[in-house]
């Protein structure tokens, strides 16, 4: 497994970096970083932690030159510390999220466990293929939906709302036993594995049913716009949600209200 990780880390093509790297990625000993995405918030790199066979994700929030430097520092620090706090809370309460390896909130980065697998979005789309019928009878897919619901329910139960739930922000991570031939990310179309919720940058502590309902509504909207043909099986997700979170009836009732009004209220003049 370790050999596979090394091979994998080394197999990323070398990159020309368009953006300046954070200092932590410029040590001669570190594995050449690979830019995974460039979002509005910051950049996500893949590198290694301590040893060349431990891959990691490095989230870097570069300074925003248009913001007042004091405000910029305050926000960057606050956001990294708050994400770290949420991650620690999730792990303490047994919800599978990436482990936190290191951080430097003043320099604007945090280093997290690299979660092997593929985004749920990718696996669902592979499974759907170009099928138009029989999706609501696909027991494997329905079971996956329930597992997603279980993960979200557990997160809400421990008092965390995600803020940006989509099928891209969950990884389907294959279990160690199922990994063969160094296929750490699993096989296309396979729905085997554990749901790992990632990207908790907008997450917060909340135990109000309104916040939970909005979280579910955002997920529902994201799911039906990303996988329109699978809209009919979204209810399976809510079944898993109820199973994991016993007091969910109030949040689900609230979801009805949120659906009626949309996330936005009607506009005041």
């Amino acid at each position: 497994m370790a050999a596979a990780a090394v091979a994998e880390a080394a197999s990323e093509p070398p990159q020309q970096h368009q953006f300046p790297l954070p200092a932590v990625l410029e040590y001669p000993a570190s594995t050449p970083p690979y830019l995974i995405t460039q979002g509005a918030e910051g950049r996500l790199y893949k590198s290694t932690y301590l040893q060349p066979d431990i891959p990691c994700a490095l989230k870097y929030r570069p300074p925003k030159p248009w913001r007042h430097p004091i405000l910029d520092q305050r926000l960057t620090k606050h956001r990294i510390l708050s994400e770290a706090k949420v991650l620690a809370k999730c792990r303490r309460d047994g919800l599978r999220v990436p482990a936190m390896y290191a951080m430097d909130e003043a320099a604007g980065w945090m280093m997290l466990e690299w979660v092997h697998g593929a985004p749920v979005r990718v696996r669902v789309n592979e499974r759907l293929g170009d099928r138009k019928e029989g999706i609501d009878k696909d027991e494997g897919l329905k079971e996956l939906m329930r597992r997603i619901g279980l993960a979200v329910g557990k997160m809400h139960k421990i008092g965390i709302v995600h803020g940006d739930l989509t099928t891209s922000n969950m990884i389907l991570s294959p279990s160690a036993e199922s990994v063969t031939d160094g296929q750490l990310d699993g096989t296309p179309g396979s729905l085997e594995g554990e749901i790992v919720i990632i990207d908790l940058g907008l997450a917060s502590y909340s135990t109000t049913d309104e916040d939970r309902a909005v979280d579910l509504y955002v997920l529902e909207r994201a799911f039906t716009s990303t996988h329109p043909r699978a809209e009919s099986i979204f209810d399976e997700l809510l079944k898993g949600y109820k199973e994991a979170y016993k007091q969910s009836n109030l949040a689900l009732k609230r979801l009805e209200d949120v659906r009626m009004r949309g996330r936005k209220r009607s506009m005041l003049g």
């Binding site: 509005a40 925003k64 248009w66 405000l71 305050r74 940006d164 907008l202 009607s266 506009m267 003049g269």
Partner: protein, 345 residues
């Protein structure tokens, strides 16, 4: 009969404290502003503009302003193709008084009415003036704060304020400091902010692509009260500076998030607050870093005006849209995404 080669519209705007009347000329290839006049109701320092006083102001100035707009445009009522007016959103009484006047013009001249959404007016005028083709739009004024992008015949709202508008936050803080409302409270805050040096900590309230300003205002008001009581080591200039730095950073952040979401590198800033130079500068730096650019207009078009209503109304009119008089009521709540945008691809 040869196809029509030119259209003229008069636009009447009065959703807040500005009464604006403008005359526009469209040809298949060009848009020409024939006149664009405005009369602003300015309330004394420490006060805001009340609906009934503002409506009275609009009623008393409408006829003379409309007459001057026609004269300056060198257009007679017979040349006008349609009478456009703001149907909402805005303050009820001022909207109604201008709608009544627009209906009167329509009946008097025998020309069709076209009701226009105020926000869509701002967006269309901004696109026309700057030539921005398909930008993410930040619409910020005394009544509205929205991040908008166009998709499939509608201007979709990606983010907005959850409580008061950013301009309302600035206007009310100007009242707290008893700054003059002439020419505009936001303008005077901007001038004071230029002399501020110290960043006083204020709340920062961004939730995804939405934001909130009421808590910031409450906090700034509390700091101002401390200052007036002689218990603070910061100045009104510092407070204006801090307020601007904080709320504009929030607006730039939600705009950047929307740009990343829709994959656009152009941003257009419209609405009265859009004429703030510091906001334009911050937005410009953000857009440049994303490999794009910011488009902004000056006070003639940023601040509420009649020409934008004429322009957006005429675009709809040329697609065959008119508002029958029995449906020409106006409304304080009229969301940007309710308008079917037939004139764009």
């Amino acid at each position: 009969m040869a196809p029509k080669e030119s259209w003229i519209a008069i636009g009447c705007e009065g959703s807040a404290n500005k009464l604006g009347i403008g005359v526009i000329l469209h040809t298949p290839t060009r848009t020409t502003i024939l006149s664009n006049l405005r009369h602003t109701f300015v309330s004394p320092p420490g006060t805001g503009f009340l609906p009934k006083d503002t409506a009275a102001h609009h009623r008393s100035h409408f006829v003379s302003l409309a007459g001057r707009a026609l004269a300056e445009a060198n257009v007679s009522p017979a040349d006008v193709d349609c009478v456009c007016f703001t149907q909402g959103p805005g303050m009820g009484a001022p909207l109604t008084s201008v709608a009544v006047a627009a209906r009167a013009l329509s009946l008097l001249w025998g020309k069709p009415l076209v009701g226009v959404n105020h926000c869509v007016g701002h967006i269309e005028m901004g696109r026309e003036i700057t030539g921005a083709d398909n930008p993410v739009v930040l619409y910020v004024s005394g009544g509205n704060s929205q991040v908008i992008a166009y998709a499939e015949q509608r201007y979709r709202i990606f983010g907005e304020t959850l409580d008061i508008a950013v301009g309302n936050c600035l206007d009310r803080f100007a009242r707290t400091l008893r700054i003059s409302n002439d020419p505009a409270p936001g303008y005077n805050i901007e001038q004071l902010a230029k002399k501020g040096t110290r960043l006083v900590e204020l709340p920062y309230a961004v939730k995804g692509m939405d934001c909130s300003f009421s808590g910031i205002l409450a906090s700034a008001d509390a700091l101002a009260a401390q200052m007036f009581a002689g218990k603070a080591d910061f100045t009104p200039e510092d407070l204006c500076f801090s307020l601007q730095e904080t709320v504009y950073a929030m607006l730039v952040e939600i705009t950047e998030r929307a740009m990343a979401h829709v994959g656009s590198s152009q941003v257009l800033v419209v609405g009265g607050v859009g004429s703030n130079e510091r906001l334009q500068q911050m937005m410009g730096e953000m857009a440049r870093e994303r490999g794009g650019s910011v488009f902004a207009t000056d006070e003639r078009f940023c601040i509420d005006n009649g020409i934008m209503i004429a322009h957006a109304g005429l675009r709809a009119f040329r697609c065959g849209y008119t508002t029958p008089i029995e449906e020409s009521t106006c409304t304080q709540r009229f969301r940007t995404d309710e308008v079917f945008v037939e004139w764009r691809d």
